[in-house]
């Protein structure tokens, strides 16, 4: 009997996992004992960190996209389908195209959703760099921004790419300086809790950098609404701030199908943080942003989780006891301007150290971005 593994989602987690399974389960795939299917609603793979560079003109949105067929091993069946329901008792999925897909083992890597509409005025007047359209619009806006108040607000927590808000504000500071506009632009960074970032060491690092670069830091700043006509943002704390250009880290949400399937009340899949197996269903795993684990929603997390799940699935197919576990390993680069960067790496319970920024680390980040397609192919 064929062991059916279905991976839903063609992002970093799903793509790396599919390629790892192609290698690990090579004998079983060749003999027909196992089959791996990758279900995705987008035939392309999108490398989202590219969008951070689009507003500054150093990357285009097309640089972020490659056809999945180029990246995924031939032994994996790629099927374009939008999964709309998960029946965990019946071990089957339903799709928007009216299909039913049976599985023995299911891996959800469906990512997080952006929900700017949850904050009045945000979709209308707020900019962001979390998708192609947003990044492109912000590039155009920034190109013509000569003077005024630029506010970067972290509206939603948790969000994808934890370093991105700090990166953006440090990059825009230097980008404006290079163009002789910085003196005419006031920069403000806001964060919802009492410090500049959820991770203490990044908060300390960012606070020092902001002070040195004349970037105003506003904490306990929970955005309630934007008034596009007045150009003001109001907070739940009762404060108001004027802006000329508002850049948001938009609110993120899980997925309704997760809640409907009983896999997690709030739309994120409740999983064991070490095995990544769903807590409320048998034979279901979750990786990447959709998995509710106590670490950042970063591409590196999806990558490392995919390796662990590939090991555990291989063991299951072979009737062995799975032993691979995820320890929370996370690696994040952090651009500190247009030509220097640093990075943090940590595991569950660790407090990362922010190293001295340098040009070689900036190049390491640029180099990694260019080589990312090797990661997606399961090589790097």
């Amino acid at each position: 009997m064929t062991h059916d593994i279905v991976v839903v989602g063609g992002g970093t987690g799903g793509t790396v996992l599919a390629n790892r399974l192609a290698e690990k389960l090579a004998p079983e795939l060749a003999s027909g004992e196992a089959r791996v299917r990758l279900l995705t609603d987008d035939p392309d793979h999108v490398y989202k960190p590219t969008f951070l560079y689009v507003p500054f003109g150093t990357k285009t949105v097309d640089d972020a996209r490659r056809p999945l067929a180029e990246l995924v091993d031939d032994r994996i069946d790629i099927e374009t389908a939008r999964v709309t329901g998960v029946d965990t008792d019946g071990h089957r999925l339903s799709t928007a195209e009216g299909r039913t897909v049976r599985y023995d083992q299911l891996v959800l890597g469906i990512g997080a959703q952006l929900v700017p509409e949850e904050v009045p005025g945000l979709a209308e007047d707020g900019h962001h760099f979390y998708g192609p359209d947003g990044a492109r619009a912000l590039r155009d806006e920034l190109a013509g921004f000569e003077e005024g108040h630029l506010v970067l607000s972290v509206v939603g927590v948790p969000h994808m790419c934890p370093a991105a808000p700090v990166e953006f504000v440090l990059m825009v500071d230097e980008w404006l300086r290079e163009r002789g506009r910085r003196e005419d632009v006031e920069l403000t960074y806001t964060y919802p809790i009492q410090r500049a970032h959820g991770i203490q060491s990044i908060a300390d690092f960012a606070s020092e950098e902001f002070e040195a670069r004349d970037i105003t830091l506003e904490t306990f700043f929970n955005v309630e609404a934007l008034d596009p006509e007045a150009g003001t943002v109001e907070t739940m704390e009762g404060n108001e701030l004027d802006y000329d250009l508002f850049v948001a880290i938009p609110p993120h949400a899980g997925n309704d199908l997760v809640a409907e399937a009983g896999l997690g009340e709030d739309g994120w899949v409740a999983v064991d943080r070490h095995t990544l197996e769903a807590e409320h269903a048998e034979d279901v795993f979750a990786i990447g942003d959709i998995a509710d684990v106590p670490t950042s929603k970063a591409g590196s997390v999806a990558h490392f989780e995919a390796n662990v799940v590939a090991d555990r699935l291989t063991s299951r197919v072979r009737g062995e006891v799975p032993t691979a576990v995820y320890g929370g390993k996370t690696v994040c680069f952090l651009e500190t301007g247009m030509d220097e960067a640093t990075f943090v790496e940590f595991a569950y319970g660790d407090e990362p150290v922010v190293r001295e920024p340098s040009k070689p680390l900036h190049w390491a980040k640029l180099g990694y971005n260019e080589s990312y397609w090797l990661t997606a192919r399961g090589l790097l």
Binding site: P43, W363, L366, S371, Y372, W373
Partner: protein
Amino acid sequence: MSEQEPVDESEATASVAETIDEHPEALAESLETLVRLQETGTLDDLAAAADTVSLMTAAMDDEMVMTLASTGSRLGEVVDTAADEDVVRGLEQTLSAVGDASGEQPRQVGMLGLLGAMRDPEVKAGMGYLIQVAKALGRRRAAAAEDGQ
């Protein structure tokens, strides 16, 4: 990022003393490592390597880094495809066949010679393989065209 400001000497001495006071063991271990590297001559090599890194940092720019990394990445993808077990076997056989053929002086073959050669079982097997390659190539090119690549 920021320009380095001049440091008062007495302030600098006090700062060094404070660092020694705070991290005596780490500093002692670091110094031991430094002495070992110096005595073995490795320190000079590391200094030379650091100079090379400095030169590279001074000479390169973002564009060069991205171009190099992108080229390396594309080569990596070609190598990934080439490293597939079936591809390796096929390429090795093909390369060996090129080697075998190149060791002999080929005779000139016209239309009749070609037809005659087609009766040779080895040529028949080789042609079968070439047709199989052509078929697979056509299939992949059609799929790529369908995906708009």
